[in-house]
Each structure stands twice: as C-alpha cells, then as structure tokens.
Symmetry: C2
Subunit: 353 residues, 2 copies
C-alpha cells in the first residue's frame, strides 16, 4: 500500500483517495435524482441510499464505496473525456446498483448490509419490493439526462442500450445464482458465467460507458470493457473470500456466513472440484442440510484448508487484477486517472469489507 | 347486453367482441417481445403471460382481458390513427401490467390468479421477484420500438415520458395500498387517490397515449386521458365489488375474500364512513384481528347490507361509466371504434370476473 491510501480505522485496509475523489459530486447528483415528495416510499429510498437512518434523521456520511460510478467517471477522464459528460451515466449506474441491492437482500433474506438493517428488515418484504421498483424507475429517468447532455446522439443511444443490456444481464445473473442454490453440480465455468452477469455486467458497463464517452473510440471502449470484466471477477472473488474468512467486525457477518447459507461461491465450487472420497461426501452432505451449525462450518473450513482453497482464490483474484492492469496499459491514457484506476484495482484485491 | 357480446359460459357475462378483436395481433406482438433464450427465467415469464403451463407445455388460449392494450389501440383508431402505430405502446402497456401483477401477487401473498397458481406460488418469492424485474426491462425495451416507428420525435418522446410517469404513479399507488393496510382511518378521498394511481395510471395513459398517437391533438388526447381516469375508477370499484360479493366459481376467490384480507376497498371505506355506534366498533374490531373467520366475514357483510353498500358501490361504478361515455361523446370520433370503447365500458360495469 502506498501513501495514496487513507486510514479510516487502524485495523482496516484504507479506502484509496481515488475512490473518494468524486464522492461529494456523486452524492450531490444522486440526491438531486431522487425526488423529495410526499409519498413515503421515498423515505425508504433515502434510507437505502444511506442518507437517513430508520427514523428519518440525516446520516452524516454515505457508506457505500460508489465503485461503479467512480470507475465510470475515471474511465471517462482517463480516456480523454470529462467528468461532467459521464456524470448522468454514473448516477444511473449507482441507482441501478442500489435497486439491485434492495431486491437482492429480499431474495437472500439478508438482514444486515454495511452494518445497517436492510430495507426489508425494517419495512417488510412488500414495501421493500415496491421501493426497489421505484428506484429502478428513477434510474431509468436519470438516463434521459444522458440524452439531454447535448452528446452525439449515436453515442447517447448506444449508452442507453449498454445500460439496459447490463441490467438485464445482471438480473439474469441473479436468477442463475438463485437457480444454483442447493445444487452441488455447479462447476467453475458455471460459477464464472453467473458472476460475469450478476456482478460483472454493471462493472463492465461502467468502464465501457465511461471510456465510450471519454474517447468516442470503439477500440478504446472495448479495452475498458474487457478490463471491466476482469475487475468484475476480481471484485466478486474477493467478496467470496470475505464471505467465508472475513472478520466479523469489518464485514458485519460471522466467519463462514456464506457456508451457513449454502452459497455456491468461488471457494466452494473450487473445493468441490478438488476433493474426493470422504471429504467430498461430507461437504456435499453438509450442503444438503436444512440447518448448518458451527460444527458443520468448521468441517467445511477444514476441508477447504486441505486443498489450500483460500490461497487459490486469492491467487485467482490477483491474476484478474493483473489482467485488468495489463489491459489498461495497452491504451494511451491520461496519467493521473490511469493511476487512480490501478489504485482501485489494488484496493479491491486486499479490501477487508 | 346486445348481440355484440359473445357467450363464453352460460353463467357468465360474455366478453365483448371489442375486447377480442385485436387479441391475436397483440398476442403475436407480445410473444415477439419476450426473448426465447436459454436462461430459465424466461420460462417464468411465458407462464406469467399465460402461454405455457407450470410444466412448460403450451396453453391453447391466453386468459387475460388485455384491457389496457386494447383501450390503447381503440383510442388510436377512434381518434383517426392506425393500429400499427399504437402497437408498440400497447405491447409495452400489457408488459408493464403483467410485471405489476407478478410483484403484486408477491406483496399480497395471492396464490391464485385467473384460476392458475401465481408465479411466486409455483417458483417461490425470490425467483418471482427477479422474473418481475426482467419483465419490466423487456417492457422498457419494447418502448424503444415506439421510437423506431418513424413517428414524429416530439410525440414519441412524450409517449415515453407518459409511460414512465404512469408506471411510477402505479407503483406509488401500490405503496399507498400497502401503507393503508391495517389502517382504519382511510377515507373515500384517500381511497380514490390511491386507486387513481394504482389502477388508474396505466388505464388513463393507455387511452391518453392511444389518442395522442391517433390524433396528434392535445385537446383530444386530454379528453381521452380524463375518460381513462373514469374507466380506472369504474374498473377498480367493480373489482372491489367482486372481491366481496363475486361468485367463487367465476372469480376463483371465496365470497368475502377481500374482507378476510382486511383490504380497505371501496365498500369497506364507504361502509365505515356511513356507520356508527356498535356496528362501527364491531367492524373496526374485526379489521384489527389477526385472523378473520367465516363468522367475522358474515358480520361485516350484514353491516354492509344495513347501509346498502353494494348498491352504492355499483351506482358509483355506473356514474363513472356514464362519465366515460359522456367524455367520449364530446369529441368527433370514428363510429365503429367509438362504439367498441363504449361496449367495453358497459362490460366493465357488469363483468363477473
């Protein structure tokens, strides 16, 4: 880690400055996009965005990483464009991401996210479902801003198309993820296909759209798109590592929480592909149980240790990071935002929450 | 009822020809809009649209009334336009409507719709939620067809805006409906405001958009919009009547089902506004109970009889129908589709499912 990392807490990998640089600008634009009218559904949205607490009191600082919009803005500047032209698309990306979190938490029955109760945990499934639908519409509306920015209309139509395809892919990926639950025949390639949609689609299109706006050059935009695919895997595999070995004080989830939920994440899929005999029988047996207890989690962790799953997963994340860095170095980019992007990739490899 | 009504079943008010006229054309266009690709989420959508059964076998006939797209097409032709120019908007309206049904059934925990199990009842909440999200995206995509039809671009942009606002209003209305549950202070005006959004928004915009495409004349489109508002109330109040006094063999729901679910529908809100003393105490007490049994339903029905709620509700629906007819007669319209629209309003007043 170099000096461009800011320490937030002594025990935590600090968030790099590059992720915080446009935070205020993004927050202001996001707040403008969510209407502040009478209907109380908007209270749920302000809560979901991290602006107020459960009782409606303002929260001093938003909590999320705003990864996707920041990647979009940096990709625009790195490839010769401006922040301003990429801002509406960046806002749409963050709103779509937040919409997906609201519905995801309902699907996964997750009660806590970023150390706060999730929307459904506070207001119930039905209201959370509607709140997600409303946020999705607001995201759609913010896209019309992309068109109004006096952009080349061919580019602006393509950006709209890219965003629509990205969230369709994302939701198809969520469906695959649900479909994989309780299955024990999910291979690495199935897993990567699912992640490429569920997580990859939005990250990939963030960089693709940013570069398309910045360069108006298809080959540059395509390189950023490929880079975004690598970043998507990097993000998710590190997330999967944290879902099993992450520190509870940092992630807000107990060790082994993804095992307890029988998630077919990268470490699990890899482990199943490597083991055999009694280890395999035991792991598959545990994954078929209705309730997975502490002993079961311990057994799975021990089986994973035997085949060095954690190192393998981290190595995979590292190679995705290397891919991403290499792809960017193949294009002629503006130095500072280029370095900011690499800083973010480095952070994603070691983040602890 | 006159001869333009086709008898489907001897005990049922027949669906008018005017609602069936474009059924095949609509079905073909709807099927083209839903991709038939590998991801199994599309199976849920084909089921939701009524094209296949739970096992994926084709169903011979779609079941829904296709009210909104038919109103859109007829409004276009009645005001001097074509079917073809209004078809993409009609398709989008029907897809948005079906998206809302999938999410509505999750919210209301409804297991049966049109005598078939609902999507969540077959595949579970999570997959149904995702399926709804996918259908919503497909509806958005079908809107881009509106733009590609070589229409006046000002009109096509306005139609996009009208549709977006309509489904935002619709979802805000769904939120209000959820918010009203278990409340006993919901007045007629609150109820009408909620219905005007939840049900009215899409019906109103169906007629508004159809007439805008047909006439390209704001004042004609505005008259259709007002007419659509009246049709929205007509549709919902008749729906509320069926939710309490409808025949189980026709609606698929037992008598009093909306009472059992403590829904604040028109008959309930009206009754509460008319009664006092022990009747009021009893009704409010029943509506606060966790489980409403057959005796409770019977008591509520008796209280409603005392203040003639059923007649009052039907009279209200009748006056909405009269309003709708009167509004249309104030514009110079093409005779046949004008008569078709009036036939549909007449049907909505007496339909039994």
């Amino acid at each position: 880690m170099n000096s461009s990392y800011k320490k937030n807490r002594s025990d935590k990998v600090p968030i790099p400055h590059s992720l915080l640089r446009y935070r205020e600008l993004l927050d202001d634009s996001l707040r403008l996009s969510v209407p502040n009218c009478g209907n109380s559904v908007y209270k749920l949205l302000e809560y979901a965005m991290g602006w107020i607490d459960e009782d409606g009191r303002p929260v001093s600082k938003s909590k999320g990483k705003a990864l996707r919009p920041t990647l979009c803005l940096l990709s625009s500047v790195a490839s010769g464009g401006t922040i301003q032209s990429a801002l509406p698309a960046a806002v749409a990306l963050e709103l779509i991401h937040n919409f997906s979190l609201i519905h995801d938490d309902i699907q996964d029955k997750d009660k806590i996210r970023h150390h706060r109760r999730t929307v459904w945990a506070v207001w119930g499934n039905s209201k959370a479902l509607v709140a997600g639908d409303v946020l999705k519409i607001i995201a759609d509306r913010s896209l019309t801003d992309v068109k109004d920015k006096g952009l080349n209309s061919i580019i602006s139509n393509r950006i709209n198309g890219l965003l629509t395809e990205a969230y369709l892919e994302m939701i198809e990926g969520q469906y695959l993820d649900l479909d994989y639950e309780r299955r024990t025949d999910v291979g690495i390639s199935n897993y990567l296909d699912m992640v490429s949609r569920k997580t990859g689609a939005l990250i990939r299109s963030s960089m693709n759209i940013g570069a398309l706006l910045g360069s108006e050059d298809d080959s540059v935009a395509d390189t950023f798109r490929k880079c975004g695919s690598a970043v998507g895997y990097l993000f998710q595999v590190r997330d999967d590592i944290l879902g099993i070995w992450g520190q509870e004080t940092l992630t807000g989830k107990p060790v082994g929480s993804d095992i307890r939920r029988r998630k077919n994440t990268f470490p699990v899929v890899y482990t199943i592909s490597k083991i055999g005999g009694s280890d395999k029988r035991e792991l598959l047996h545990i994954y078929q149980k209705d309730n997975i207890d502490d002993n079961d989690v311990q057994s799975v962790l021990e089986i994973m240790d035997k085949v060095d799953t954690r190192s393998y997963a981290q190595d995979f994340a590292q190679s995705c990071r290397d891919d991403a860095v290499k792809l960017l170095s193949s294009v002629n980019l503006v130095t500072k935002p280029h370095k900011d992007l690499v800083d973010i990739f480095n952070f994603l490899l070691v983040r602890e929450n």
